[in-house]
Amino acid sequence: MDFKAMASNLGIGEADFLELAALLVVTSLSDLAALEKGLAQGSPDPIAHAAHSIKGAAGNLGFADIAAIASEMETLAGKGEFDPINARANALRQGLDAINMAMDRR
């Protein structure tokens, strides 16, 4: 993960970008918890909202992979197809972990 290049894409400094990335991880984990609660209850709205929130924030920072997974989850929730969402939630969690690890290495 080239944080420096990602920061430059946004026209901000690297330190600012790292602050945003850390915020993304915390916020998205919280969204993910809400999403999983929605899955347990079988209610599509909180799932779609949480996925939408992650998609927007990750996309804005340039984490395209995470944004793409979240986008799929949002679409699936809209169709009421809950089963495939579980697997994607795990993939998303791994993506967030990867950001955390990359930040730790710095």
């Binding site: 894409n9 946004l10 026209g11 901000i12 600012d16 602050e19 945003l20 915020l23 993304l24 916020t27 909202h49 939408h52 929130s53 998609k55 927007g56 924030a57 996309g59 804005n60 920072l61 340039g62 944004a67």
Partner: protein, 373 residues
């Protein structure tokens, strides 16, 4: 050079990452950025801070962006603030609905920094241009008010006319008018009129009317003749069903002869010195509508110390209380008695204070003229 006040931008988004990112991008360009994580806070901040522009996320839990913009546009204090929606690529319907509700533009997520700055910049520029246009129009309207007020004679300028006046226009271009005519050393004319409408056209008409009075109220014409000649010209120049009610009081102080000519105007109140007020009703057609108009005339003898009140319907009429001036004047007789001891120069203001409690604003333009013989 003095540093100019930075533009304030309110960013509204339920995701703190987006809020922080917008704040970073915009702050770097010198904008003051305030943030709200949801609808209720966004509404409160919009009212309290009056930001120059609002970036508003559509999809938020609870109160969404549509509800926020509806509130903003319905509130006069925030209705003029440009709102740019934040939306994802796919939400075509949302974009259209946003424009429908009064948004000026949208920015799709993921944000592109340069696009965001460009859109914010262009809408701030447009907003400045619109605001300065409005300020310029307001300035021009104030000029009309000033010009119109300059046409109204002041009591100090006509000491021999012995009158006091109260004049209040509710809007920039008032519909009420009065003039004092020094016809000869001994003869003074007092003219009060009320135009239908209060628009800009009306204010030009008051200038025309003033010129007509100066031309036609001379010693060679009787007051009735003057009124008829003025009517004939007004019929030609007034359009769109416009007309006016007017009262022309002609007073010869050396002979004590007084003439009241009425063109559909509320009655004059005559207060003979030391006696009770009497309401003088004179029927007559309105001015500026019919070429063969007939105006009522009333002739009385007056003595020094007698007073006359000439006024517009705003003094006696009430739309709220459904009082037309025909009956309104009678109810005022007691009020005229109350201000008997007030010098004539202050009597109109005193009368207004007697009729209208403090803060109880008249519903229409008002002119009140008090003349002492």
């Amino acid at each position: 050079m003095e540093a100019t006040q930075p533009f304030t931008i309110l960013a509204v988004d339920d995701n703190p990452v987006n809020l922080t990112l917008m704040k970073m991008i915009l702050s770097k360009e010198g904008y003051r950025v305030i943030t709200a994580p949801g609808g209720p806070r966004a509404r409160a901040l919009s009212v309290a801070e009056k930001p120059d522009l609002i970036l508003l996320d559509i999809q938020m839990p609870g109160e969404d962006g549509f509800e926020v913009i509806r509130f903003l546009k319905e509130n006069p204090a925030t209705g003029g603030i440009p709102v740019i929606f934040l939306t994802s690529e796919k939400e075509i319907d949302s974009k259209l609905k946003g424009f429908d509700l009064g948004a000026v533009d949208y920015i799709t997520k993921p944000f592109n920094r340069r696009e965001m700055l460009a859109r914010v910049g262009i809408h701030l520029k447009l907003s400045i241009a619109t605001n300065s246009l409005i300020a310029e129009q307001a300035r021009k309207l104030r000029q009309i008010t000033e010009a119109q007020n300059a046409m109204l004679p002041l009591a100090e300028e006509f000491p021999n006319a012995r009158f006091g006046v109260y004049y209040k226009a509710l809007e920039e271009a008032g519909g009420d008018f009065y003039d004092i005519l020094e016809i000869s050393d001994q003869i003074t004319g007092y003219f009060v009129a009320d135009f239908s409408g209060h628009d800009i056209k009306t204010s030009y008409m008051t200038a025309a009317l003033k010129a007509l009075l100066a031309q036609n109220c001379s010693p060679v014409y009787s007051p009735l003749e003057s009124m008829k000649m003025i009517n004939d010209v007004l019929v030609e120049i007034l359009t769109d069903g416009k007309y006016l009610t007017a009262c022309y009081v002609w007073l010869n102080r050396s002979t004590g002869r007084l003439r009241i000519i009425s063109a559909g105007h509320p009655p004059v109140v005559h207060i003979p010195k030391g006696k009770d007020p009497e309401v003088i009703r004179v029927d007559g057609d309105i001015l500026g509508m019919f070429t063969d108009a007939r105006f009522g005339i009333h002739r009385i003898r007056v003595a020094p110390g007698d007073r006359l009140f000439i006024y517009s319907d705003g003094l006696v009429e009430s739309v709220k209380q459904k009082i037309p001036w025909a009956t309104g004047a009678e109810s005022l007789v007691e009020k005229f008695k109350e201000i008997r001891a007030v010098p004539y120069g202050d009597a109109p203001v005193a009368l207004m204070e007697t009729i209208f409690d403090k803060g109880d604003v008249p519903e229409d333009d008002v002119v009140v003229l008090c003349v002492e013989v």
